[in-house]
């Protein structure tokens, strides 16, 4: 009969593990980095004239003044009305001559990806030429500025979502960009509803700082 090995007392194992556990509990920061990604416009070349002719109806000026008040297209507005205003601006449902031009466009989707598209996968419809010009003062609060950015992004996201829901029965964010077909869809929808938000060169809108 083999000799029995004396058992090691495992009672203190829990203590050691607890100690380590508490260390990691304290040292852990669970901050996942989240945020709104935007693209800055490249700096204009020195000799380049930056005068781009844009039709007045195609521009929606969103202005945040130094007391954090919001002015959209000439009228004062609450932050929560902005999203619907932007959606109306980008879709121009009633063909209003004061809202942006809609241009007939053909956009290629992967053939056969949706029953609502013709067999060749070409979507024909109207794409807005609208641009949102976001302006702020040097003394605007950053929190307010980001909330407005958020509303603008939310408006475009909602349009993209509605389109994706209608044609592909999922949300825009659920499109898997690792999948070649879905990535093509993703980019095509991005071209239909472009995130046309231009941030003007910073300037002081007058008054004391």
């Amino acid at each position: 009969m083999p000799r029995e090995v004396p058992e090691i007392n495992g009672g203190s194992l829990a203590d050691i593990a607890f100690l380590l556990l508490i260390f990691f509990l304290v040292a852990t920061t669970m901050d996942i980095d989240t945020g709104i990604t935007r693209l800055l416009p490249p700096e204009p070349e020195k000799d380049q004239e930056t005068e781009v002719k844009v039709n007045k109806r195609n521009v929606l000026v969103v202005l945040i003044n130094r007391s954090d008040r919001l002015m959209v297209g000439g009228e004062e507005m609450d932050r929560f009305q902005l999203k619907n205003k932007v959606i109306e601006f980008f879709t121009n449902p009633a063909d209003d001559p004061n809202l942006p031009e809609m241009v007939e466009t053909e956009i290629q989707f992967p053939p056969g990806s949706s029953p609502l598209l013709p067999p060749d996968g070409v979507w024909r419809g109207k794409v807005s030429k609208g641009v949102i010009s976001l302006q702020n003062d040097r003394t605007t609060t950053y929190g307010t500025y980001l909330h407005i950015q958020n509303e603008l992004v939310a408006a475009v996201n909602q349009l993209r979502n509605e389109f994706t829901q209608l044609y592909f029965d999922k949300t825009y964010d659920d499109l898997n960009q690792a999948n070649a077909t879905e990535e093509e869809i993703y980019n095509a929808i991005r071209d239909i509803y472009k995130m046309n938000i231009s941030e003007s060169e910073p300037k002081n809108s007058g008054g004391l700082n």
Partner: protein, 166 residues
């Protein structure tokens, strides 16, 4: 002779604690895996605003951080309480638009990335919600000159007001 005799070993029966270490170890491993140690010490106070349309920043290796906020108490004794800019772990103290510091910073960070990812470098702007846009605009101008164009306004996910608006 009483009918209800007291049992000999009175008190609660002992619970077998042999599996306690297993449970604790499981928790331990969870925290070990999910821990990311803080690499930089943030020397300015930053409370990022809330937003609904936030997305996760996917590749951490492509991200460099720019903090803007009022300095914490220790730093404030040296620099005063005016908002400061911190690039990763370096506080900068440049008059006017910080073109030079940001340019150096961007070049340095870009150098660390592999060739294929150099144009995907993302600048995460962690800015306190009470800071004036002037400082932010300065940094944005400097980033444009340094050709670091992908930026991410850091924000926390906002849940509260969703019901009110949809």
């Amino acid at each position: 002779m009483s009918k209800f005799r007291r049992k000999k070993g009175k008190g609660m029966p002992k619970i077998n604690t042999a599996s306690l270490p297993d449970v604790v170890f499981m928790l331990l491993f969870f925290f070990m895996v999910s821990t990311t140690m803080r690499e930089t010490e943030v020397q300015v106070r930053v409370k990022v605003p809330e937003a609904t349309e936030v997305k996760k920043l996917e590749k951490k290796s492509l991200v460099s951080y720019i903090y803007i906020g009022r300095p914490v108490a220790v730093i404030a004794r040296m620099y005063g309480t005016e908002p400061l800019i911190q690039l990763n772990d370096k506080l900068i103290n440049e008059e006017g638009i910080p073109y030079e510091s940001v340019q150096d910073f961007v070049l340095f960070e870009r150098e660390k990335l592999p060739e294929s990812d150099k144009n995907k470098m993302t600048m995460s702007l962690r800015i306190d919600e009470d800071i004036n846009m002037g400082k932010v605009d300065d940094v944005k101008q400097a980033l444009r000159r340094a050709k670091a164009l992908i930026i991410n306004y850091s924000a926390r996910k906002e849940y509260l007001e969703q019901g009110r608006r949809r």
